[in-house]
């Protein structure tokens, strides 16, 4: 499984693997998200007949992909010591932007023309829109020193409001495009498959690999970790703290735009309320994956595993017929447990040092 590869190269920093005297319990703790995933997987595989069916696993992974892609962007932001609460709203706004461009085109009333774009350009403009909102967050945080929590909370409302304003709260339905206008093909993104797997799963895999590569093997990635670990030391080492932090928010906006496109395409319609509370699921995935909310510590691979833990848990519980009220409670318990174990591990690590 490809997820295993990501885990071994990324989710556990080489520390424990290379210092051979690390006690077994420390290794187990570091791999905890992965172990939790295996246990959950094994549990539902044994107790449920339908869980292991290919069809169900694909549905499960499709759901996970949405959260995981948001989680990838969120990981960058959290690694810098920030947080991005606006991603759910960006998902909704980007969906509406794409839907509007397909159904109504770009209206330039000054010239009294309406421009309909090719579907690739529609997607490009939507992604640009997501990145611009991310940049807005980044500018607030780095240039105007607004606390990330507040800045992105504000953007959460602004983006959601704009999404509602665009079509007066109404949905853009039936986004199939018009052959005469040359903008057909949008539903393929959500419905298309490659090697029997939906595109969204491939997108998640590609973004996870690129995301991990950027985090591990580029100066930008290294500097993200440094800023989250000690901003002042990073600055004195010549890291352009403001630019790098801003980029993290742009990446998060990019990921949210991708998710907006995928969901809108899957539904073949754009609804302004899409993506509500997605930000919380994304944060949960990041935290479950072992990334520290105070910054500087964590991996993209961990986030992907975290997203799978949440996905497997809710998919399995739905199949088992657990009441949705209990599902919510259990999800909360799992998140708290994950952070408690994280604290425990940090203390253990300190003591070993």
């Amino acid at each position: 499984m490809e997820m295993e590869n990501i885990q071994s190269t990324a989710a556990t920093p080489a520390k424990t693997a290379e210092s051979n005297h690390a006690p077994i319990q420390a290794i187990l703790l570091q791999l905890r998200a992965f172990i939790a995933l295996l246990i959950l997987f094994g549990f539902f595989a044994i107790y449920s007949d339908s869980f292991m069916q290919t069809n169900n696993l694909i549905i499960l992974t499709k759901q996970v992909a949405i959260n995981a892609i948001l989680g990838i962007g969120m990981t960058y932001v959290i690694l810098t010591g920030g947080i991005d609460l606006s991603v759910g709203s960006i998902v909704g706004l980007c969906g509406i932007v794409a839907g509007g461009l397909i159904n109504e085109g770009l209206v330039l009333s000054v010239f009294d023309v309406v421009i309909y774009f090719n579907i690739w350009i529609v997607m490009g403009l939507t992604i640009l829109c997501g990145m611009l909102i991310g940049m807005f967050n980044g500018v607030l945080v780095t240039r105007f020193s607004v606390a990330p929590f507040i800045a992105t909370l504000g953007t959460l409302y602004i983006a959601r409001g704009l999404a509602l304003l665009r079509n007066s709260g109404a949905t853009f339905p039936n986004l199939v495009g018009d052959p005469e206008l040359g903008n057909t093909g949008f539903p393929k993104l959500g419905a298309g498959e490659l090697l029997d797997l939906p595109y969204s799963i491939w997108i998640m895999a590609v973004l996870a690999i690129i995301g991990t590569f950027i985090a591990m093997k580029t100066p930008f990635g290294r500097q993200i970790y440094a800023i989250g670990g000690n901003q002042r030391a990073a600055r004195l080492s010549g890291v352009r703290v403001k630019q790098v932090t801003l980029m993290a928010y742009v990446i998060s906006g990019f990921c949210a735009a991708i998710v907006g496109l995928i969901i809108t395409s899957q539904l073949v319609s754009a609804h302004p309320a899409t993506g509500e509370s997605f930000e919380l699921n994304a944060i949960a995935a990041v935290v479950l994956g072992g990334t520290s909310l105070s910054g500087g510590r964590g991996t993209i691979g961990g986030t992907i595993i975290g997203a799978f833990v949440i996905g497997v848990l809710s998919n399995g519980m739905i199949i088992e017929g657990v009441s949705s009220f209990w599902q919510t409670v259990i999800k909360g318990v799992v998140i708290i447990l994950a952070v408690m174990i994280d604290q425990f591990q940090q203390r253990l690590q300190k003591r070993n040092v």
Binding site: E18, T218, P219, Q223, Y225, A226, L236, G238, R297
Partner: protein
């Protein structure tokens, strides 16, 4: 001083402390004599901090006993130790800058009316009494953030006394103090002794131990090496026991050729932030030549750190010019200055030098990532590995694996990682702010050797130190700063302790008379 007649207040017997993987203390016996200054020395990693933490209840013994006034004790928390009369003052002071002196002294031990309302008047009265006992003119209502470091330390001492401390542990109490402040502290310590308070004193500054200590205990590698009454021993004895070899204390730098101007600073001025007048840096001009080691000496607040930070570009509102090999650095960012060949080794390793969450290798590479690229944006693992391993070897950094967390290294080795990070940027001028702060004698000498090697390679080395002996031993030329100005420039041959101290006090006359 007579170990037989002097009264032992606390006796640690065969104390052992085992951490997973290491033995921090092996069967250590340690006596604290009543009303005396009991000095504890050893290189980093010798076990001083562990022993201190055990006494203060932060850590517990694996085996062995602590006997206080004839009774065995086993404090499980700092609060329990406090109740037994054992207090501790850490190197990094634990005060709340936003609260006033008396609030700080009584924090978590408030004097109350009816158990819930704080009786500020009574607290302030007791604070005034404590300050009288310590003979310090500090007012109870002064905000702690308005006090000088030395005064803040006095507040910490008062805090301990307010809790009826019988044994006061002081960890590197003078590391941030100027000479005048040290004198005040020593006066307070002597006063405490006469009042029967026993002091455990930990410091790296050996000369000062000879001055203030009554008994000395040397630890090395977790073991008790020697213990003696202070009058019977000398500096050489301490160093020999600490390092385990008879090394000379006075370091003599090897010859290095001084060449042309590397750095010229002209009229560098930094206004006091938030104040209409007054300068942190007052028209500072000097030059540094390639291959030269230029020392800067000055008291706390003289502007040494500000000078370095301004040179690095941290203060955009500074005026004046900085020329690095005739290239003006005016208006350049930190990053651009590093690329031009200037690099700072900051004073505070933990807060400014290192990123605790990163590994040794990643810390070392942080400032020079662009020199380790495989392609335009991708790092080369091979280049990174080569650089890191080369510097681990060249600076003899003791680390088993370059991917270990930076926190697993001793202070001296951490400092060498900071130095390595700076060297990887290929600097032409290196600014070293207190490069030997808080590291042991052995590591200090290694840092000195590195400085000389860098000068031999043609770098200009500018370094700041509060230790007179260090400046006198290392510098080819010494600048003395006081109140943001350069008050003296003294060549090596003419430098004396007296001259430095006199120049560093210029502008301080009034303050001095007041203390």
């Amino acid at each position: 001083m007579n170990p037989i007649t002097d009264d032992i207040i606390l006796h640690a017997e065969k104390v052992q402390k085992v951490y997973p993987g290491t033995v921090a203390l092996k069967d250590v016996d340690f006596n604290i004599y009543r009303g005396k200054v009991n000095v504890l020395v050893g290189e980093n990693g010798a076990g001083k901090s562990t022993l201190m933490k055990i006494l203060a209840g932060v850590e517990q013994v694996t085996s062995g006993k602590l006997i206080l006034n004839g009774k065995e004790i086993a404090p499980k928390s700092p609060r329990e130790a406090e109740a037994l009369g054992i207090g501790i003052i850490y190197q990094e002071l634990n005060l709340f800058p936003n609260l006033n002196v008396s609030e700080n002294i009584f924090v978590a031990h408030e004097v109350t009316v009816g158990g819930s309302l704080v009786n500020h008047r009574e607290q302030e009265r007791q604070t005034a009494e404590l300050m009288k006992r310590l003979e310090q003119p500090i007012k109870p209502r002064t905000l702690v953030s308005n006090l000088r470091i030395g005064q803040q330390q006095i507040v910490e001492i008062a805090k301990s006394l307010a809790r009826n401390t019988q044994i006061l542990i002081m960890d590197e109490p003078t590391s941030a103090l100027s000479n005048t402040e040290v004198e005040v502290l020593f006066r307070v310590i002597r006063e405490l002794k006469t009042q029967g308070v026993s002091i455990v004193y930990i410091s790296h500054k050996l000369e000062e131990l000879l001055q203030i200590g009554d008994y000395i205990t040397v630890l090395r590698d977790g073991q008790l090496i020697a213990t003696a009454p202070m009058p019977e021993i000398n500096l050489r004895w301490i160093v020999e026991n600490m390092v385990g070899r008879g090394s000379a204390t006075a370091y003599t730098p090897a010859a290095h050729e001084i060449r042309d101007d590397a750095l010229r600073v002209e009229n560098l001025t930094l206004p006091h932030p938030g104040k209409a007048q007054g300068y942190l840096l007052d028209h500072v001009s000097f030059s540094l030549r390639a291959g030269e080691i230029l020392g800067i000496y000055g008291l706390m607040g003289a502007g040494r750190t500000e000078l370095f930070e301004t040179l690095m570009g941290l203060y955009p509102d500074a005026t004046g010019d900085v020329l690095l090999y005739s290239e003006s650095l005016k208006g350049k960012s930190i990053r651009e200055r590093i690329q031009s060949g200037m690099m700072l080794i900051p004073e505070d390793r933990q807060r400014e030098g290192l990123v605790q969450t990163l590994s040794v290798a990643h810390n070392m590479l942080l400032a020079s990532l662009r020199n380790h690229l495989f392609s335009r944006v991708v790092l080369s693992g091979r280049k990174e590995k080569n650089s890191v391993e080369r510097h681990i070897e060249e600076l003899s950094i003791k680390v088993s694996n370059r991917n270990n967390p930076i926190g697993s290294l001793s202070g001296g080795n951490q400092q060498k990682v900071v130095v390595a990070k700076a060297l990887l940027t290929s600097p032409k001028v290196l600014l070293m702010d207190e490069p030997t702060r808080g590291i042991d004698v052995g590591a200090k000498e290694e840092i000195f050797t590195i400085m000389v090697q860098l000068a031999q390679r043609g770098l200009g080395v500018l370094f700041v130190s509060t230790e007179l002996k260090e400046v006198l031993a290392m510098a080819d030329r010494i600048l003395v700063m006081s109140k943001g100005r350069i008050t003296a420039e003294i060549p090596r041959a003419e430098a004396t302790e007296e001259a430095l101290v006199a120049a560093s006090a210029i502008g301080h006359e009034l303050v001095k008379a007041g203390v």
